[in-house]
């Protein structure tokens, strides 16, 4: 190794070898004949434990702060939460009655309740270390049944999909990533379309012409037509319907999920064709 580093040969030879190596790696990924995913999996498997270790350390410090030091408003918050809890209990009791009624009606109409598919809870342990990257790392991998294209969600809506997995770690592409595309339905009008990530905090509808009834505030859910995300999960709300630029209008969407505060996520390892939540009445 010392001979390589201290080599008297011109440095451009090393540069050329390194650049050719990276170019070949890039080319191999655009070709369907070579599978280079093992390189990513191997590196992810090596980096994952370090990332989890550092994350656990940071979380420990945070827990000490929030659990012991930062307790100034706890009494006031406790009283407020108790009041809220009472109100929520009353609402829950009312909703339970509604649920029973829906179950009876389903039975009458011979409809089966469609449960959500099998899910695994994972913890977010890191974010994309590249400039402006929209990916994150979670602490579950193929050993937990998580592989490529597994849908990642929270109770608020769709987070993204898995793009690579090692045994114990996975990289998730957020729906805001510029390479991400999701099929949607407008909840009220049932109009179908495609949402793309912008690489920023928002999403954008594509191929929207003047002949549409999409308006600000419309809620969007997954359509299931992309064969990746199951139907009926909340995606976001229309933020603005811009003027026509070229052939199409610019329609911006605010995602349902706050990507800045993700800690735990659900991984749908075995999703069913449709998810009942968020479907149109």
């Amino acid at each position: 190794m010392r001979t390589v580093i201290d080599s008297k040969k011109p440095a451009w030879i090393t540069l050329a070898v390194a650049l050719v190596f990276n170019t070949l790696l890039l080319s191999a990924q655009t070709s369907k004949h070579f599978d280079t995913s093992f390189v990513r999996v191997w590196l992810l498997a090596s980096l994952g434990p370090f990332e989890k270790l550092v994350d656990a350390g940071v979380e420990g410090v945070e827990n000490i702060w929030t659990g012991y030091i930062d307790l100034i408003h706890v009494h006031r918050d406790n009283e407020k939460l108790l009041a809220e809890n009472g109100q929520l209990r009353m609402e829950l009791s009312q909703k339970s009655e509604d649920a029973l009624e829906i179950a009876r009606l389903r039975q009458l109409m011979d409809l089966r309740a469609r449960p959500i598919g099998k899910t695994v809870v994972a913890r977010v342990i890191g974010k994309d270390p590249s400039q402006g990257g929209q990916n994150m790392t979670i602490d579950k991998g193929t050993k937990s049944g998580i592989g490529r294209d597994v849908t990642i969600l929270t109770s608020d809506g769709v987070v993204g999909r898995v793009i690579s997995s090692s045994d114990y770690f996975s990289v998730v592409q957020l729906i805001t990533d510029s390479q991400s595309a999701v099929g949607f339905i407008v909840r009220s009008s049932r109009r179908l379309g495609i949402l793309k990530g912008t690489g920023g905090a928002e999403l954008e509808m594509v191929y929207i012409d003047d002949d549409n009834d999409i308006k600000q505030g419309d809620e969007l859910i997954t359509s299931g037509q992309d064969q990746i995300y199951p139907k009926g999960i909340s995606l976001g709300t229309v933020l603005s319907v811009g003027p026509r630029q070229g052939n199409f209008k610019i329609v911006r969407i605010r995602p349902s999920v706050n990507f800045g505060h993700l800690e735990e996520v659900l991984c749908m390892t075995d999703h069913l064709p449709e998810v009942p939540t968020g479907q149109a009445p």
């Binding site: 010392r2 440095a11 890039l26 990513r40 980096l47 550092v54 342990i125 590249s130 400039q131 402006g132």
Partner: protein, 168 residues
């Protein structure tokens, strides 16, 4: 034998610092949002390029850190590897031929390397079909990251200078 242990120790030290920087960048970008605007692996490539002033190890460090960064990203493997290789080489060449001890020179160099890194990554993205579809804020992002990196780089280089002077 002792020389071999020293060499392995040196390689181990470099490897650990590369892993640490990529992992810390990922954790900090997730925990503290402002760190999304920093690119610590890039700063480390420039840092080693300037301080070692030897192109061969700088190229190896650039490739390794770039590939580690790619493994936690959505971009194709080799994107950051290619960019950081080139930047490591250019930083080492600049470090051996020019006086990069002046803080202003370093800050300008880090800024320019950051913009160059963004440009190379976008270009490779276009060539491989992984380009960002909306580039309206791309240049703005490079400039902001360049300013942030220049600031953090100054702190890192300043710390390095103090440690070096204290040792000598």
């Amino acid at each position: 034998m002792k020389e071999r242990i020293t060499t392995y120790g040196l390689i181990g030290k470099f490897a650990l610092s590369l892993i640490a920087v990529v992992v810390i960048q990922g954790i900090l970008a997730y925990r503290i949002r402002v760190f999304e605007y920093f690119d610590m692996p890039l700063i480390l490539s420039i840092y080693y390029g300037f301080t070692l002033g030897r192109p061969v190890p700088s190229v190896i460090i650039g490739t390794s850190i770039g590939l580690l960064q790619d493994s936690l990203s959505g971009v194709p493997m080799g994107t950051n590897g290619f960019s950081k290789t080139l930047i490591g080489y250019l930083a080492a060449t600049a470090g051996s031929k020019f006086d990069v001890d002046l803080p202003v020179t370093r800050a300008i160099a880090i800024f320019l390397f950051t913009v160059g890194d963004g440009f190379i990554i976008s270009l490779l993205g276009l060539m491989t079909g992984f380009a960002a579809n909306s580039s309206y804020d791309l240049l703005w992002k490079w400039i902001v990251t360049g300013v942030f990196n220049a600031f953090l780089g100054m702190l890192m280089f300043g710390y390095h200078d103090r440690v070096t002077h204290a040792a000598s």
